[in-house]
């Protein structure tokens, strides 16, 4: 009788998963959240979000819907570096650009790998990811590499493998940003079990993805991290930037817990990977 019993348990699990999946597809993740209560961080009333997390999607290629596409250098790299297809993470599919900004986005994409032969070009052209510049928010979340949430009772540090980027999230008070920066200024709060982070004071140099989607220094991002299972956070970010968009808009994606027993943050210190791209022309141009 052992075998049939086990089988029926497995079947029940499969059915339950199917029900949940259908339910989510129909009603959104809010429903799952209602049924899941994350464990508390010792000594606090708040959910314990500590761990190493990673997005599993192609948003870093393009946050809008996109078909598969070849790498920028198919003759050198073949299939490696090609863009996977993705349905996008923008609610409603499209980013509400002002007309000039849509044209700028297209130009960004066309010149995304233009060699920065002058300081001015370096400041204004090219995908900052190619240059290993700090990725900004929200791109750091889905740039493809793991990140660690370090949540203490009074504060949260998010540490990203990409470029060893970091951001401090102030939970216990609201200090003012002393200046604009690449990763911005993060003030956190709890909305029930959802971690809400209000991000301001970002500079205008970071992008949303490799497709050239961009913002200005007026960008205001409100992120929401909601635990929906022991292994998943639902991530949402509302983006507001009256200089570039006609309306606020929203992205949404699950984040996955890395559950390997030996998981630990590793290094992706990419400065040295970027230097020939950034400075190579200075040497080649005049230093024959």
């Amino acid at each position: 009788m052992q075998e049939p019993c086990r089988l029926s348990t497995a079947v029940r699990i499969v059915l339950a998963v199917m029900v949940i999946v259908t339910w989510c597809a129909a009603d959104g993740f809010g429903q799952v959240q209602a049924g899941y209560k994350a464990p508390r961080l010792a000594g606090t009333q708040h959910p314990d979000l500590n761990g190493i997390w990673q997005a599993l999607n192609s948003a870093n290629y393009d946050i809008e819907p996109h078909a598969a596409a070849p790498s920028p250098f198919p003759a050198l790299m073949g299939t490696i570096g090609a863009q996977p297809a993705g349905q996008g993470v923008v609610e409603g599919g499209r980013i509400p650009y002002q007309p000039w900004a849509l044209a700028k986005k297209k130009e960004n994409f066309e010149k995304r790998l233009a060699r920065p032969t002058t300081h001015e070009l370096n400041e204004t052209t090219g995908d900052p990811e190619a240059k290993c510049y700090l990725p900004g928010i929200p791109r750091a979340t889905y740039i493809g590499l793991p990140f660690q949430i370090i949540e203490t009772g009074s504060q949260i540090l998010i540490s990203y493998e990409f470029a060893s980027a970091t951001r401090m999230v102030y939970m216990d008070r609201k200090p003012e940003a002393p200046a604009n920066s690449w990763m911005g200024w993060s003030i956190g709060s709890w909305d029930g079990d959802t971690l809400v982070i209000d991000v301001t004071a970002q500079n205008d140099k970071t992008w949303f993805d490799r497709a050239g989607n961009f913002h200005s220094d007026a960008v205001h991002v409100v992120e929401r991290y909601t635990p929906v299972s022991p292994y998943h956070l639902m991530y949402e970010a509302t983006i507001e930037d009256p200089k570039v968009f006609t309306l606020p808009w929203k992205i949404r994606m699950p984040l996955y817990r890395r559950i390997e027993a030996n998981i630990q943050p590793l290094e992706f210190k990419c400065v040295e990977f970027s230097e020939e791209f950034i400075y190579g022309s200075l040497v080649n141009k005049r230093g024959q």
Binding site: N50, Q264, E272
Partner: protein
């Protein structure tokens, strides 16, 4: 250095004021006995280290490791390991004056006072940060390391025309100035010595403002990374010995070559093995004791002691650690350095 010696240093340090330490460390005979009236007798009561909600000793806080004490003992102070209070005060004033003079006279070629404003570094009371060997100086280098160092110096010298050190490519600039990485362990730095310790169940995290580096140190006893995996900041494993966090630190990269920003000789770090000990000495001080072993570079291990201070007015809270974007602002430096080298070479060829 014997194991017992190190254990003795560590057991003494947290229990007593720093000046007391020097009076009790075995002095190998040649050092003057501690003078009467030194504060050994008034050692403060042992500090009760607070606990986290899950029971670990709580080391959390924002600290600075800025200090005016030199890494190695200056020749003028040979044979003397601690300073009297008056000597310490005089040294502090002298060093601050020198720093102010440097800033005042170097307006075009140095950082201005803003960069150094945070460095209210105080002397530790000792004449050097190194506490072992007993002469407060780095041990002799191995022959192999001396040879390598000479080769590296010759390579640098070959890129010099007159007074100009030429930068033909970005690779002629130090890893630190390229913002690739800054050597560990962090000891002497001119600015941005802010550091924060955060604790979560199973991890201790050290966040260094400089180079926005984060070390997430697992406490679960897992083995080190495979030896083929070499990291700029190495691989750390921690455990508690009483109130002391002990971190075993390996898997450094041979490509990590410390430059002037770290006093470790500017040599590849691939064989370096570091043992760190962290312990709260009092509410505002975290004792940091580090032993460095690297038989390819040093003929014997050495140990340094550097208190991290939690009461520096510039590093009181986490918002005093600001984003250290570095590589992001390097284009002009590279452009100027490379084109300057090209101009110098062109001029030299004409002659």
């Amino acid at each position: 250095m014997s194991h017992r010696f190190f254990e003795r240093i560590c057991s003494l340090l947290p229990a007593a004021a720093l000046l007391t330490l020097s009076a009790q460390v075995p002095a190998a005979g040649q050092q003057p006995a501690p003078k009467a009236g030194q504060p050994a007798a008034n050692a403060p009561a042992r500090f009760t280290v607070p606990r986290t909600a899950w029971g670990d000793p709580d080391l959390q806080g924002v600290y600075t490791f800025a200090t005016l004490t030199p890494f190695q003992r200056p020749a003028a102070q040979a044979g003397k390991d601690v300073l009297s209070e008056e000597e310490q005060k005089a040294l502090e004033e002298q060093l601050k004056k020198k720093q102010e003079e440097n800033i005042a006279t170097n307006e075009h070629f140095s950082y201005n006072a803003l960069w150094f404003a945070s460095d209210e570094g105080r002397p530790t009371g000792r004449t050097s940060i190194i506490i072992d060997p007993e002469d407060g100086r780095l041990p002799p280098m191995t022959e192999q390391a001396q040879k390598l160092r000479a080769e590296m110096q010759a390579k640098t010298a070959a890129k010099r025309i007159g007074k100009d050190q030429l930068v033909d490519t970005w690779e002629d600039i130090s890893l630190y100035n390229r913002c690739v990485s800054r050597p560990m362990p962090r000891v002497t730095q001119e600015y941005n010595q802010g550091v924060q310790i955060l604790q979560t169940p199973g991890f201790v995290t050290i966040f260094y403002e400089s180079m926005h580096d984060v070390r997430s140190i697992p406490l679960d006893g897992r083995p080190h990374l495979d030896s083929s995996m070499r990291l700029w900041n190495g691989d750390s494993r921690g455990h508690w010995e009483g109130d002391t966090l002990v971190v075993d630190w390996t898997n450094f990269s041979d490509r990590q070559k410390s430059d002037g920003s770290a006093p470790f000789g500017g040599l590849p770090q691939g064989n370096m093995h570091v043992t760190e000990r962290f312990r709260k000495a009092n509410a505002n001080t975290l004792d940091y004791i580090v032993t460095v072993e690297d038989p390819t570079v040093w003929t014997r291990p050495f140990t340094f002691y550097l208190p991290w201070r939690g009461d520096d007015p510039t590093y009181l809270g986490p918002d005093d650690l600001f984003e250290y974007a570095c590589h992001e602002g390097n284009y002009r430096m590279m452009e100027n350095s490379i084109t300057a080298a090209q101009a110098v070479r062109a001029k030299a060829e004409k002659k």
